[in-house]
Amino acid sequence: MIRAYLKMKNKIVIIIFSCFLLIGLFSCKLSNSSVPEVSFYHWKSYFDLDSTEIKYLELLKVDKLYIRYFDIDFQNNKIIPIGKIQNIKNFIYQNEIIPCIFITNNTFKNIQLEEIDSLCDNIIKLIQSKHSSIGKQGIKTLQIDCDWTLSTKDVYFQFLQKLKEKSGWDISVTIRLHQISYKEKTGVPPANHFVLMCYNTGDLNNPNEENSILNINDLKQYKKGMSDYPHQLSIALPLFSWAVVLRERKVIKLIRNIDINNFKNNSNFEVQGNKIIVKNSTYLKGYYLYKGDILRCEKISIETLLQTAQFLQKHIHTCEIIYYHLDIYNIKNYPYERIETINRQFNCD
């Protein structure tokens, strides 16, 4: 009798457990929790978010915007903020904002160790001022973007450590692909969050380069570094296009948001594949082009993004995709449904 009761009890336990398991699995599927969080960079000097952009963010369920507040450079023998974002006071955005700063490597080449303290204080003050001017209280995370090198590693890492201590904020840092490949040399920054920039893989200055923004084969060279990076990585993917202006085989200018189709019936230009040859000297978007200049149009197709995502998801376990960057021109080229397809390639489980 007792044995029968125990058998019965075991069966009930197994059934209940199985039910929980099924419910658990099913609920996971229903809540779509495996798709990583999607964010965007806003990387302009003038803040202007129109209704199309807001709608785009809503459709993609973006809860977080990374906004460049200013850059920092060493100029005229001092470290100063440049390109401070304008018009931010008129900005209303309900969701989370992560302030970002781009700091030139030149800054860390020239900084004196005793200047690190004051640099941190100045950054904190200016970030707080910008942040509160858009009605945001409290900063959780600050992102620092810097292409540090071996010679600046030590001072950059000291700066990050000090900034973290002084601000009490989480520090997020961008990581270039070469920095994950040679992490033993370039080091791992003392930060809380790490964003791998999966673009600018090619050699912009090489006149023979076809697409310097993103080349899947270039990306593959870094796969070892991706899989054994000691911290979880967020992934930044490119959503932008530009024309690289080559004059006498030297890269002299980047002109953003160029649609090659607009040049096909213009006598000043001749389109050859992804290149536009300047046939007569002329102005283009405020830049004077000389006869013989070549515009190399670089753009990332949805297909390339899809392949990139499929490759990355095999080598990086990520829970956040950040697109660079939010711009009305890019929105037209990358419909939100296609971006969702990209996002679905990743699994955050």
């Binding site: 100029q75 005229n76 001092k78 100063i80 903020p81 401070k84 100045n122 003050k125 200016l126 001022s129 910008k130 001017s133 071996l150 040679y182 033993e184 040399k185 004059r247 006498e248 085989r249 030297k250 002299i252 200018k253 000297s281 002329t282 102005y283 283009l284 978007k285 405020g286 004077y288 000389y290 006869k291 013989g292």
Partner: protein, 759 residues
């Protein structure tokens, strides 16, 4: 426990591998100072006294950097106007102290003193400008200075780190106050300055429309046309117009400021903006003269990457006597000079060989210059005719260049600066025209290098040219020394160079140039040093008899400069350790080492009873002399892991920035392995066999690291697992000699072996 052991092993392996050459991307020791950006023989200062556009146009490469010069010019011009207004009584420094370095309180005290006919405040008691202001009761002037101080916080950028706008709530009040003060004075020198302060306040408060209204309202009330302040004001007007979206008018006004106000040129250049071809056409239409149109083209030509020759063609067409033409000509030549000068023979990666596009640009400029000279519309052709000659030289028409220079010489006579420039151009042409170097030319070039101060780039140009010609006539030694020295020859010794230099050094008489090259590039006792290098080169190839012969010609003092102890072999390698504190160790020079190797080889072949021991000793010597041993310096003058890294495809012949032939590393471990194997085979003593097997196993491990298929990286967090083909001697040691005392010692001291054993 196993994990702990593995970590220790990893550490040991990583430490060991620090001494194994690694494949990395960056070479060490590279310095920007070594970069070569092309020779420069054109004196960019040629135009400085002829037009004030030169500093701007010729420094185009500095555009976007600090505009300290512009700011300084502005301040000086303003101070000069104040000095003129005060009848030259005060110095510029005295005026500057009052206008730029004072504060409002100081000025208030000065005003009080002036009003009461008192002496100036204590700090300015001897300042002539302050004295003049008080003596003449110039309260109106001091009122203006006080007003300017009040405006200052709104006008100058405050702390860059502040997020505060320069817009002050009292700005308009300040503007109104300024207007009232302006109207009170009849002094138009001061009225103009009040107007400037007022318009600037409104501009910087971002109220551009208001600023323009103020400009239009106040302009008729000022009658002061010769002041530089008018151009500053026009700059503000243009800035406001640009902000309101009218690029065309703004750019036209900016171009006028550019032409007339030297101190504002940099600022104006940055603000000048034309969006499209229509705007450019409209801007040209706004101009009232061809010279104004020429200024627009000059502005466009001033960009860092502009093709100025195109703009020069436009300028010449509409305004052939434009003062913009010559600075633009010099700017273009300096760019072409960088590309073309000595392109056939110069050493260095930059700026690269001229391509077809660059050639077209050169021809285009030369064509324009010839046209300009032919049409004879210029007031001053001197620079242009020299330019023609230099462009002909750059295009390699040496004959035409020579003729043009001769013609130029008659035209420029008496102009010292141009004569000096022409002398340099002619010298460069002459050096370039040499097709063969003989003793006379060598001595002449030596004298030129020693005595001429014409250009800092001249000696490099001469040596590069000589090197090319020496190589052509197979004087490899002299060719090498034109650009490199002994150290660079040591990095990768080349027999043809060493033998050539030895032959040269053994001549009974050397000319000045030869003596200079040998003494400066090889050093004192150059013949001995060359034989030492020759001996070492033979030793690297194991040519022991040749090495001995060469070393025997080296003076003992040179031979004993570096001593080694290759017969000492610890179980654990230590490449950069200090000399062991062991009195039994004998330090030897290279000649002694070679002699001992020869003796060991002989004994190994003849003394069969002890041959295993001799072979083992030979193995030690060759192991220690290799890249992996502490006595690597016997063969290698510069051991570098980055040399390995730069050229992984060529295992022992690595490219190296400083040396034309790369930095050779001596990584061949085969001979050491051969001798250890021989020792193991021939010995009857298990202890000796164990030792020899162990060393042979180490050689095998090195061969594994050298294998191009090896994927192991020094930063991998585990010790390498040796593939089967590299395990021969470790396995022999384990299988045959595990009972020996040496085996135990090896397990104890060598962590990798211990790890291997566990695996």
């Amino acid at each position: 426990m196993n994990e702990l052991k593995l970590s220790i092993v990893s550490l040991i392996v990583i430490s060991l591998l620090v001494f194994i050459p690694q494949k990395t991307t960056n070479a060490c020791g590279f310095s920007e100072e070594d970069l070569f950006f092309g020779y420069q023989f054109l004196d960019m200062d040629l135009m400085s006294e002829k037009t004030d556009f030169s500093p701007f146009i010729l420094n185009f490469s500095d555009t976007y950097s600090d505009d300290e010069n512009g700011r300084r010019t502005q301040r000086n011009t303003n101070l000069e106007e104040w000095q003129k207004a005060s009848c030259q009584i005060a110095t510029l420094e005295e005026i500057e102290e009052i206008i730029y370095f004072s504060n409002a309180n100081d000025l208030e005290r000065l005003r009080k003193a002036a009003a009461n006919n008192n002496r100036p405040p204590a700090q300015w008691i001897s300042n002539q400008f302050a004295k003049e202001l008080t003596r003449n009761k110039c309260t109106e002037t001091i009122d203006y200075l006080i007003y300017a101080k009040m405006c200052e916080p709104n006008a100058i950028s405050g702390s860059e780190w502040s997020d505060e706008s320069r817009l002050d709530s009292n700005t308009d009040e300040l503007i109104q106050y300024g207007k009232s003060m302006m109207m009170k004075t009849d002094n138009h020198f001061l009225r103009l300055r009040y107007m400037y302060q007022i318009v600037r306040l409104a501009h910087y408060a971002d109220d551009y429309q208001y600023a323009l209204e103020l400009y239009n309202e106040l302009e008729p009330r000022v009658d002061e046309t010769n002041s530089i302040i008018n151009w500053w004001l026009l700059g503000h007007k243009a800035g406001c117009i640009k902000r309101l979206g009218d690029n065309v008018t703004a750019s036209y006004l900016f171009s006028r400021v550019f032409k007339n106000c030297e101190g504002k040129r940099e600022q104006v250049f940055r603000s000048f903006y034309i969006d499209n071809d229509d705007e450019w056409k409209q801007c040209l239409l706004m101009c009232n003269s061809d010279e104004e149109r020429a200024t627009l083209y000059a502005l466009r030509a001033s960009g860092r990457y502009s093709i100025a020759v195109e703009e020069m063609e436009h300028i010449y067409k509409i305004s052939p006597q434009s003062e913009h033409l010559t600075p633009l000509l010099l700017r273009e030549i300096s760019l072409l000079e960088e590309t073309f000068l000595g392109a056939e023979f110069r050493r260095g990666d930059y700026p690269g060989k001229p391509d077809e596009i660059a050639k077209q640009r050169l021809i285009r400029l030369l064509t324009l210059v010839r046209k300009v000279l032919k049409e004879d519309k210029l007031q001053d052709q001197k620079i242009w005719i020299m330019a023609q000659g230099y462009l002909e030289y750059l295009s390699r028409d040496l004959y035409a260049a020579d003729k043009t220079y001769q013609k130029a010489a008659t035209i420029i006579e008496g102009d010292e600066k141009l004569e000096k420039q022409l002398e340099l151009f002619q010298l460069v042409l002459k050096i370039h025209a040499y097709t063969r170097i003989d003793e006379n030319i060598e001595v002449e070039m030596f004298n030129t290098i020693s005595n001429t101060q014409l250009s800092p780039d001249l000696s490099k140009f001469i040596f590069d040219r000589l090197a090319a010609l020496y190589n052509k006539q197979k004087d490899y030694g002299k060719a090498f020394l034109c650009n490199f020295d002994l150290h660079e020859l040591q990095l990768h010794p080349k027999p043809e160079i060493i033998n050539d230099l030895i032959q040269l050094s053994e001549l009974e008489e050397l000319n000045k140039m030869e003596n200079y090259l040998l003494e400066n590039k090889i050093g004192d006792e150059f013949l001995s040093r060359l034989y030492e290098l020759k001996g070492t080169m033979h030793l690297t190839k194991n040519e022991l008899a040749d090495a001995t012969r060469a070393f025997e010609k080296v003076k003992p003092t040179i031979m004993n400069e570096n001593l080694f102890y290759p017969f000492y072999l610890p179980i654990i390698d230590c490449i950069h350790c200090e000399h062991p504190n062991d009195t039994t160790i004998v330090d030897l020079n290279k000649l002694e080492i070679v002699q001992q190797i020869l003796e060991l080889e002989y004994k190994a072949k003849t003394d069969m009873e002890n041959s295993a021991q001799y072979y083992y000793t030979l193995g030690k010597v060759y192991y220690n002399m290799s890249y992996y041993g502490h006595s690597y310096g016997i063969l290698d003058y510069y051991r570098s892991s980055s040399s390995w890294a730069q050229s992984p495809d060529e295992i022992d012949d690595y490219s190296f920035y400083y040396s034309p032939h790369g930095n050779k590393e001596y990584t061949d471990i085969n001979l050491a392995l051969f001798y250890f194997d021989k020792a193991k085979e021939l010995t009857l003593d298990d202890e000796a066999a164990a030792k020899a097997s162990f060393m042979a196993a180490k050689c095998e491990l090195i061969k594994y690291y050298q294998d191009p298929d090896t994927k192991f990286h020094y930063y991998d967090d585990k010790a390498p697992n040796l593939p089967l083909k590299y395990r021969n001697y470790y396995d022999i040691l384990i299988n045959k000699y595990s009972e020996t005392a040496f085996f135990e010692k090896a397990v104890e001291e060598c962590k990798y072996f211990s790890y291997y054993l566990e695996k």
